[in-house]
Every structure is written in structure tokens, then in C-alpha cells.
Amino acid sequence: MNNTPNAPDEQLVLSYLQGDNEALNFLIERYLRQVYNFSAKYIGSAKEAEDLTQEIFLRVWKNLKKFDSQKSFKTWLFSITRNVCIDYLRRKKTVTFSTLEGDDDKESFSDKIVDESFSIVEKITRQELEKEMGRYLSRLSEANRAVLILHYNQQLAFREIAELSGESLDTVKSRHRRALIYLRRLIRQDKKVHQK
């Protein structure tokens, strides 16, 4: 099969399985940036994301035979990416501040907050937010963080996120809403501290 870098994902997978190694190179090149960015934002470390990205693509390569070509390759890839990142964080046993946000299954404090606008004088510049975003993200629960990154950084639709995480569409939407509310709350708290 004659492949070009622009061939669809599923065709590249099929070509690789038929013995065309170059097809795998095209696939990796296509998704390297996205996988690296997701990992870096999810685990909060660009340096460690390098090793993790390598591990993710190795796992993709090993499991390529199991890929169902009827489904989206991108969704499949990100389900692996998410799982590898979760495994990594579990291995590392990082103490996250996700408990502050509350258990996912229970109604958390942030759920009770109405989407309020800020009453105190609080302005945050883009530069400030860029600097602090990693810290804010690390305080979200892993599942909520994944939804935010997949939706905004990887431009995945909620339906695709639901598919790859094995959750219902409503749960994903709820995670998204709660994560945004919690982020706003964190920013607001930070601004209060700075103002004092």
C-alpha cells in the first residue's frame, strides 16, 4: 500500500500491520505533539512527559493489533495515553490536592457553588495564568483534569472523551463544569491571598 503522511489513521494502522514500518512513523509523527502535550499537562512535568510519551507510543505499538479499525484511532490513542498517565501518577503516588475538590462520586463543595462571577476585585493576566496553570491543574482530580486537557488542548468533543474514558456523556460534561468552577475558585483564592 502506498502511504503518504496525509493518509487516514486507520489506513496507516492497516499498512503497518501489513508490514509497512513507515506507516507507523507517520502515525507517531502526527500525534507526537498532542500526546506529549497531554502528558506534560496531565502529570505537570514536561521533563517526565518525555519518558511517558515514549512509554505511550511503545504501548500503542505493542497493542496495534488489538485496535478496532471501526473506531477512531485518536480516541483509542488517548485512552492509552490517559491510562499510562494514571498508572504513572499511581506509581509515583503523588499526593495531589484532589481531595480538596472532593470525591468524584460525592457532591463536592464546588458543585454547590453557582457559577458566580467574582465579586472582589480580581484580575489575572494571561501571563500569570500561564505561569500558574500547572499548579492549578495539579489540584484538580485526575479525571476532571483529563477532561479539561482533552477538551481544550486536544480539541476532543465530550462524546469522544466519554468514549475513551468509558464514562457517560453527562458525567464528562459534569466533570468539565466542576473543573472549571474549581479552577475559578482556585484563581479567586490565589488573588485574595496576593491582595492581602
Binding site: Y36, N37, L58, E122, R126, E130, Y152, N153
Partner: protein, 152 residues
């Protein structure tokens, strides 16, 4: 306040989304690292498969040798060779009584040993086929190049 600075009070979600959508620069060597990691694993797995298959080829060849030996022994024990030799000594009698000849010959054949031999032949052929296929998959050039580099 510059244009880039956004007031989160007005549109916090948009700013959060915009910051989240920013991409980090991928390290230049990462792609090469990933491709070479996959390449070396491909070589390693092909090598391991090759070793296993080579071993199974040897085992099946040995099994074939003993199975053939057993067939020859059982055939002489059951008198199948003697019946078969009639074809060369008394062909006319054999052709005249070909039904009785065939039946006697079939009865004298060591069926179990023949089945074992056929199995051993098949196992050997399959092993050879996979060994050959794995040999085709292994790219020896980079391995040799690497060995040379280590020597230097």
C-alpha cells in the same frame, strides 16, 4: 493593560480555555528516541521469536528422525516391507490380486507411527516457515553498524 491581558472577571472560561489550548514545544530528539526504542524492541522480539522457532525446528527435526526410524522398524516388524517387495518380484500376481494385496499392505502399515511422522513433518515445515519469516523481519544492518560503532 495590554490586549493580551484579559480580565478574568469578564470572561474567565475563555481565558482558561485559551491558556489550556497552548501547546508546549516537543523536544527535538523525542521522535527519534521513540522510533529507535520501537525499532530495538522490534529487533529484540523478532530475535526472541527466532530463537524459540529455531529451537522448535531442531526439536521437530529430531522428532522426525526418530519417528521415521520407528516407522521403518514397525514396517519390517509387521511384514509391510515383504508385502511391498512383491511389487518388484511378482508384479503380475500383485496386479491380478490387487484388492487382496492392497488390503494386506494397509493392514500391515503402522498407522500410529505414520501419523506421528506426518505430525513431525508438519511441525518442522511450520517452524521453518516462521523462522524464515522472522529472519526477513530482522534488520541486521543497524545491528552490525552498532557493533562496529561499539568496537570503534
Amino acid at each position: 493593560m495590554t490586549k493580551q491581558e484579559t480580565n478574568i472577571k469578564n470572561n474567565p472560561d475563555e481565558l482558561i480555555a485559551s491558556v489550556l489550548s497552548q501547546d508546549l514545544e516537543v523536544p527535538a530528539k523525542l521522535l527519534t528516541q521513540i522510533l529507535s526504542a520501537i525499532f530495538w524492541r522490534q529487533q529484540l522480539y523478532a530475535g526472541l521469536r527466532l530463537s524459540g522457532l529455531a529451537l522448535s525446528s531442531i526439536v521437530s527435526s529430531l522428532a522426525l528422525f526418530f519417528a521415521l526410524k520407528e516407522v521403518v522398524f514397525k514396517m519390517s516388524e509387521s511384514g509391510a516391507w515383504s508385502i511391498l517387495s512383491l511389487v518388484f518380484s511378482d508384479l503380475e500376481v500383485v496386479t491380478a490380486n490387487w484388492q487382496a494385496f492392497s488390503l494386506s499392505f494397509l493392514e500391515a502399515l503402522p498407522i500410529f507411527s505414520i501419523i506421528l511422522t506426518t505430525g513431525a513433518i508438519l511441525a518442522m515445515l511450520v517452524s521453518f516457515r516462521f523462522v524464515f519469516r522472522n529472519l526477513m523481519q530482522i534488520n541486521f544492518r543497524p545491528i552490525l553498524k552498532n557493533r562496529l560503532l561499539i568496537k570503534i
